[in-house]
């Protein structure tokens, strides 16, 4: 398994063992630190290792086998990298890979930018702020089964959204029925759900930015836009990194809206990798190939998340 290169914050911590005379004290300290770390980390690490990492490790191991026979009657045969060869020689799988990356390159920045804009608005002074925050958050609380059905009806070619567009003189849009608009429509629905969710974390981050700095900036005469880029964004680096990584992961494994709304179509235009994994594993009963596709998906996520850590990671000062 690959490691995610992580740069942690070392600033502000006294460098231990700086001079030879302090070395023994330093190593005693290191031991006590290690003990604390083990005690503090053990329960969480154990839970994640047993319920996530270990089963995943087995799934990875699984990709090296193939079944002869089916279901309970199947016999497992070692197959080496055959499953991966099958995947990477399949043109439609490669197209799915490309589509997944494009989908994520669009939806993640879009969601975060909009969530950030809404968060900035929702941290200003106003009447009934809690109510508006809750309103924006509400879509993320509605079970996907329900909201997907609602959007499926709303975006029907003869549905209410088109009727509304008609009132503004905009022609009827095909939405989910066109291979050119389906993925964009999915992005719309997923963002309607996601923006409020990530807003909560960004509001938390915005609240912890030092207000005095803003006051200083406004005395300096910096306008709102410049203050945002030169002050807010750098100070928001840590919560932003979290939201960026978490949102990316969430969107890479997103498949329920596709399953409910377009079933991967039209013309596969909404078939993303996780949808493919789900279909192979659960519908086509090809657990080994499904697992191989999962491994591919995870590797891509690891690469992208590593880049995000590098871009927004804390730098040693």
């Amino acid at each position: 398994m690959e490691k995610v290169p992580v740069k942690t914050n070392r600033a502000g911590e006294a460098a231990p063992g700086a001079s030879p005379s302090k070395r023994t004290r330093g190593s005693r300290m290191a031991r006590s630190q290690l003990r604390t770390a083990v005690i503090f980390l053990a329960p969480a690490v154990l839970a994640i290792a047993l319920l996530r990492l270990l089963p995943f490790g087995e799934a990875v191991w699984d990709t090296l086998f193939k079944s002869e026979g089916f279901g309970v009657l199947a016999e497992e045969k070692f197959a080496g990298l055959e499953n991966y060869v099958t995947l990477f020689t399949d043109v439609s799988f490669l197209q799915t890979l490309g589509r997944t990356v494009v989908f994520n390159l669009i939806i993640n920045p879009l969601q975060i930018a909009l969530a950030m804009a809404v968060s900035v608005l929702m941290t200003r002074k106003m009447f009934g702020r809690g109510l508006w925050r809750t309103a924006v958050f509400l879509p993320s609380t509605i079970p996907l089964v329900g909201s997907s059905v609602a959007w499926g009806i709303a975006l029907r070619p003869d549905g209410p959204v088109n009727a509304l567009l008609g009132l503004f003189g905009i022609g009827s849009q095909p939405f989910f029925t066109s291979s050119h608009q389906a993925l964009a429509s999915i992005i719309l629905v997923a963002s309607w759900i996601g923006i409020g969710h990530w807003m909560i974390f960004l509001i938390g981050g915005l609240n912890s930015v030092n207000q005095e700095l803003y006051e200083a900036a406004s005395i300096d005469g910096a306008n709102g836009w410049r203050t945002f880029w030169s002050l807010t964004v750098p100070l928001m680096r840590r919560p932003l990194l979290f939201v960026l990584v978490a949102d990316t992961v969430a969107n890479f494994v997103l498949f329920v809206p596709m399953q409910m709304l377009t079933n991967g179509g039209p013309e596969n235009s909404t078939t993303v990798l996780m949808f493919d994994v789900y279909q192979r594993t659960y519908t086509f009963s090809e657990p080994h190939i499904g697992a191989a596709a999962t491994v591919v998906l995870t590797v891509i996520m690891i690469i992208i998340v590593s880049i995000q850590f590098r871009l927004l990671g804390e730098r040693d000062k």
Binding site: P5, A47, F127, L131, F137, P139, T141, V149, A163, N207
Partner: protein, 272 residues
Amino acid sequence: MTVLLTILAVAVSVLFVLPAVWMLFGSLAPGNSVISNVSPLSWHTLIPRKWTLSNYRELFGALGFLRPMFNSLFVTFASVAIGLALSAPAAYALAVVRFRGREVIFSLLVIGFMIPFEAIAIPLAHVFTDWNLDNTYVALILPGIGNGLAIFNMRQSFLGVPASLREAAVIDGASDFRILSRIYIPLNGTTMINSGLLIFMGQWTAYLWPLLIVSSDSKQIAAVALARTYTSSLFDFGQLFAAALVISIVPAVVLFVLQRHFSISIATSGER
């Protein structure tokens, strides 16, 4: 200015809440009339011709939605409590304590939350069945408590606490546990709430896992009960929307109450 911002906020809220309002009105109309009135567009696309509570009556009566709601509440709150108790020390260790292998552990946790649960659900369900844990609350709670995302979120926040606070506490003889519970957690109230909400939403919306691991109706949770409001032959949109909204009310209220405590944290004020 305040008024202008409020108007803007209301406009944004309407954008987000309108589809949900449509669902709400649909759930207050009899049967499938929400579908019959979709097209052509008129006031009745949104506002029912006839108002009724029959969908809600059916939901809590014949469909027995109360029990699954209770199960969901119990499972979710237990998961949040245990999950936070597990995550906070882990985040503290990763953010503050210096030890060898810290980055490796952190990387593993990050990878842990990338793994799509669907990919490991069936083998994991077999393990739980082997241990006779199927049809138990334990089986529903366990997968929710080790939340790498919550740990990551807290770690980010803990990193912002000035190291000088800890140093001072150490000199006063405070243990790490005490430093965590008396300094780090109170200073990062918003993050604790956020992280709790992460675990909450993960468990509240869990669907596949409860479906696989629970075969007895007495332990079933709300998201699965929702899916049962329709069958392949008969689909009741009013009921589906009613159930979806009933499920959404709990997290919405939780957020509405908790966001008042989204305080301005002093933790990062003095940062370097």
